[in-house]
Symmetry: C2
Amino acid sequence: MKGAIGIDLGGTHIVFSVINPIGKQITTMTLPTQAHKGGKHVLRNILTGIEQLIRKTPIPKKQIIGIGLGTPGAVDRQGTLIGGAQNLPGWEGTNIYRPVQNKFNLRIVASNDATIAALGEARFGAGKGKTNVVMITLGTGIGGGIVINNKVYRGTHDMAGEVGHMTIIMHGRRCSCGKKGCFETYASATGIVRTAQDFIAAYPKYNSSLLLNKLKSGESLSSRLIYFCAAEGDSLSLRITEQTAEYLGIGIGNLLNILSPDIFIIGGGVTNAGDFLLKPARRYIKANTWNMIFNRTKVVFAKLGDQAGVVGAATLAFDTFN
Amino acid sequence: MKGAIGIDLGGTHIVFSVINPIGKQITTMTLPTQAHKGGKHVLRNILTGIEQLIRKTPIPKKQIIGIGLGTPGAVDRQGTLIGGAQNLPGWEGTNIYRPVQNKFNLRIVASNDATIAALGEARFGAGKGKTNVVMITLGTGIGGGIVINNKVYRGTHDMAGEVGHMTIIMHGRRCSCGKKGCFETYASATGIVRTAQDFIAAYPKYNSSLLLNKLKSGESLSSRLIYFCAAEGDSLSLRITEQTAEYLGIGIGNLLNILSPDIFIIGGGVTNAGDFLLKPARRYIKANTWNMIFNRTKVVFAKLGDQAGVVGAATLAFDTFN
């Protein structure tokens, strides 16, 4: 049986997995990223991980057709990080392909992590059997990936799917990218906290609220806490989640209008809110999507959880080298 | 020499052309659409046009590999108009493929007109030699087309590229599609007129303005008049064009963030405003695009003018049947 190595490089951990052609993870292991030690050290950890994985897995090395790697940022054709990986200092400018090829004599392909996660979900997760798939990952920021005719669309410079920086509010919130009004300043986990801060500041002082009580008792403001309080019926939290759903509806609606895929997948930690997120979001997606498209497009949650990245990475290796 | 027939079905005219594999129009003719006479009559005019074109052109019929047709709205795999062609009453529900195949024994493929125009511009116009191309057409509304890996991307239901209905202003202007805040209510030829109406209503009564004088003397408010007055230095008109450029920058920026193409093409009648449109628009595109993408993407005007549709239609026939 053939296999491909998938690698998902995150800010805190690197996941390595040997995966077979039908998306099954044969051998999986994790190493810390140690991002604070700099780009060279991260690369060394990647090489160490590949070495250990090849030693561990029952798939013989000559059956491994290549390596796929998902990383924050964008990667050029020669395998060099060309930017956009703020949480990995010193990672920009690193060439990934050469050291891997030299050390293991294996072919490697790398791309943006959200793009690669979309490929994983499209092929083996919520988008299985679908031709055109768009996925967004709601985390600290918002990443996006586009699969067209069953193939990942990376854009000319591996930068397609930067949906988190779509402007949804003119003259809106300042984003870390330097722009204003970016989708991710409203609908990510940090976006909902910013919305909560606005709502709390405007909330009548004499009104009580479960959320405010929790904050007073020392809990910190997070998307998780807001959805917990909303589930308990707290009206302040419900208004915050409703507003967040509207922002989410604008961003998703825009993507549907532009790309009209078979299926739209929402992934990332924020989806733990479940129906509390998806139900109101659906109303606002409808309000922001051309009705001919809305009526024909499924919007669902991701299925592979935090394994979408590593599965997608191996899938990209199969697609590229098979 | 081989040829393909391109047909561009518009609200008032139908353009027919035999085109060779390098995009040259060998024989071109035009018939009125007669949209008010209903869908069946429009179809009859298309059949008549094909018949006349085949008779006129020096390319022998057996050298014609097929027919491509661009139409308002969306077309399903069987060649039936499934909607979105408001300016052609009774056209929805019409099957185009069967009567054409029966009458001429030629294969035919049809798709949305803006999608097809983008293919024409990508292959033989402003996008020549580029792999990934996005185009918008600024007219009464805003249409869009996406070319990925040199092939037109139609979306799952021929509805990709409905960029005119992207929401750029939350709770914004009411659109004829039923949504609010659609890109085309702000940046199309009718959008700029709506913006002008807002600015005129808020303009101090005692101030003079070339635009207001023209309107008082009986000229009607149009994008053309506004750009004319702006070119004359009229400050009211300059403010209207500046605001329109900002709206345009949001929509185009969003498309660049999502699709990161090699080149972005702006077409349609509004581009006659030339640098008066493009110069301020560029500033706002920059303000609304992730800088890594903006620095790598060209934004240019279309080159084929009103022939993009017919050239694109023949190109789709070559791509589909060759």
